[in-house]
Amino acid sequence: MSTVKPAYTRPLDFKHGRIDMSHGSGGRAMAQLITELFAAAFDNPYLAQGNDGALLPQAQGRLVMATDSHVVSPLFFAGGDIGCLSVHGTINDVAVMGATPLYLSASFILEEGFPLADLRRIVESMAQAARAAGVPIVTGDTKVVEQGKGDGVFITTTGVGVVPDGIHLSGDQTRPGDRILLSGTIGDHGMAILSQREGLTFSAPIVSDTAALHGLIAAMLDSGVQLRVLRDPTRGGLATTLNEIAGQSGVGMMLHETAIKVNQPVEAACEFLGLDPLYVANEGKLIAICAPEGADRLLAAMRAHPLGREAAIIGEVLADAHGFVQMTTRLGGRRVVDWLAGEQLPRIC
């Protein structure tokens, strides 16, 4: 009879434990972290294959791939955390291509000393967001850097999806006369982060709008309206995203300030800090540009979805050799809505 004792590993201490260099070593400690935390939380057959990469079934349609790194500070904020944000952000990047998001990868850069309790909270939030979205995290990676060389945790996610035939959304497709639609209020995510960072409190807390938009997008595609482009206005906000599209398509735009909704606490915080909500990041909103004849139908389809209830037509595309995005102000004047210059809010997502 063998006297070799069965292997025993003391379970990870998720209450008081911290990440140390061995969790990135490739050895037993790393394997334990993967098994007890990542594999347990993300649990799905592709991840369970346990190989260096996930072997995925053949997909129908053109593939879309998008990647996004997340360095937000603070890691936990009203309405979300870096975990769900990293899932939503990449799903949205895939979905705005008109694709059905299918799979995600997740790559973690952890700082030595990071509490396991916080890491578990983040990973569970990711797992929950991925499950709710129906998009499994099928492969991943973990690296650990010495204390002082990172800031807790950075997460990079990559997403893959397929675009059905007949759908071609791109920033260079818009043409004069097209209508510009926005799915809701702007500035919520950026101001949630900033107000938390600066310890600003308002009568109503500012909650991040982080959300996966593929459901809303599916409903919009189902409406049958000819969409030119979809985009989620994250860093740089609505203004910067519209300037990108105007540049790609070689057109101008005219927005109407009164049609663009801003939640009151967000407006107050922006006022207080001297920021323009047009440039503040969103994580659960999208811009849609469509042919003019379909605009009302598209608007109705958006408003019928919970994430598009406050959707509005905010402007139209113009012929303009200079590519200016302009706005009629609430005062009745006109102004350019330019690219963001410099850095408004660092580490917002």
């Binding site: 600066e198 009164t258 009151q264 407006e267 107050a268 006022e271 323009d276 303009d320 050799a321 200079h322 200016f324 302009q326 009629t328 102000t329 609430r330 005062l331 009745g332 004047g333 006109r334 102004r335 350019v336 330019d338 210059a341 410099g342």
Partner: protein, 368 residues
């Protein structure tokens, strides 16, 4: 939003615009200078120029704190951070102001200088408390609005015995700059007077402009309707041949101003003999320095960093623009070499600067 929307109402704006249009005499022009960058910003952001008749022209004044700082002052701050190893604390706007040798505070930071962006003087004090082994210097800039908080910080540092804290004092005075503009012979029919500055100094210091120079002054808040109402009031003064100091911003400004703040400033600061402004040159009694009893908190003395005047870029028209003699679009490098992302002149840096405001909000007007 309450107390904000009321001052941005489109219907009221149209009413005031109609009054301005009907009362401005077609036969003459009205050249009105808004002194403050806050007004410049409001005018550009809300497209107020579109609501004014062609013969009412707004001239952007020099009231943007970072715009009037000469290159040499930023150089001084960079030298402190790079050569003396101090932690340099600054308001965000100053970070991107171009300095000598293709530097700015932001670029110096990227090269390793310890430059920190802060929101208030209290943050700078906290940095000093948290880093007792390091010297912390606050780059104190701005007009009369930002001076009282600096005075508070200096007093606090003195009370706490905070020996590693000092300030590089670049606080400047509004009335002195207005004198310099008028003495320079710029054609101006009236001033939209400062909003926040006036809450501190009151409306009284503007009386010489009305009495001695015969220029109407209307103090106005920074909201768009404030600005429009002030323009209407100025048009009426010009039409009546009056030159008075009127106060549109009565909800915040009195004739005497904030006496407590004035007292605080007087206790900590005294007048400099002269100070060099970008655009206005060396202006007598136009800036502040610490009083001798606070000399320990004066970074210029503590670190022996002398001010060295540096000429502006030859192609840059900031000087003429700050004096109201040229418009941003009349500068050769406007929008080409000089943009908000790569500013050559200081007027292109802050969103309150005349060039940045025109570039960011108004440049479609030239495309027509």
């Amino acid at each position: 939003m309450k107390y904000v929307d009321e001052f941005r109402d489109g219907v009221l704006a149209k009413n005031i615009a109609a009054n301005i249009a009907s009362e401005a005499h077609a036969g003459r022009s009205y050249r009105l200078m808004e002194f403050c960058g806050g007004h410049t910003h409001a005018i550009s952001r809300y497209g107020i120029a579109d609501l004014l008749p062609a013969n009412v022209r707004m001239i952007h004044g020099p009231g943007c704190p970072v715009c009037v700082l000469p290159i040499g002052r930023i150089d001084q701050a960079i030298r402190l951070a790079r050569e003396q190893g101090v932690i340099l604390c600054t308001y965000a706007d100053t970070m991107r102001v171009p300095a000598s040798a293709n530097l700015s505070l932001m670029r110096a930071k990227a090269q390793g200088a310890d430059v920190r962006m802060i929101y208030s003087t209290q943050d700078a004090l906290q940095v000093a408390r948290d880093n007792p082994q390091r010297e912390v210097v606050f780059l104190a800039i701005g007009f009369e609005t930002t001076t009282p908080p600096t005075a508070v910080a200096v007093r606090q540092a003195a009370a706490e015995g905070l020996q590693n804290f000092s300030i590089l004092c670049d606080h400047v005075l509004t009335p002195a700059a207005m004198h310099a503009i008028l003495a320079g012979g710029v054609e101006i029919d009236g001033f939209v007077g400062p909003a926040h500055v006036s809450t501190v100094i009151g409306s009284k210091p503007y009386e010489p402009f009305a009495d001695d120079y015969g220029k109407p002054v209307v103090i106005a808040g920074f909201e768009p309707l404030d600005v429009m109402q002030a323009i209407l009031m100025l048009v009426r003064q010009v039409n009546d041949g009056r030159a008075e100091v009127e106060n549109e911003f009565t909800r915040a400004v009195t004739r005497e101003g904030n006496l407590k703040a004035q007292q605080l400033v007087a206790e900590v600061f005294e007048l400099r003999d002269r100070f060099e402004w970008r655009g206005l040159g060396s202006v007598p009694h136009s800036a502040l320095k610490l009083r001798p009893q606070f000399a320990a908190f004066d970074a210029e003395q503590k670190f022996m960093v002398e001010y060295v005047a540096v000429p502006d870029n030859k192609a840059c028209e900031c000087a003429a623009i700050l004096r109201g003699q040229k418009r941003p679009q009349e500068c050769k490098i406007f929008g080409t070499v000089c943009t908000p992302d790569n500013p050559v002149g200081s007027c292109m840096v802050s969103s309150e600067g005349a060039c940045a405001a025109h570039y960011s909000y108004g440049r479609f007007r030239e495309s027509a």
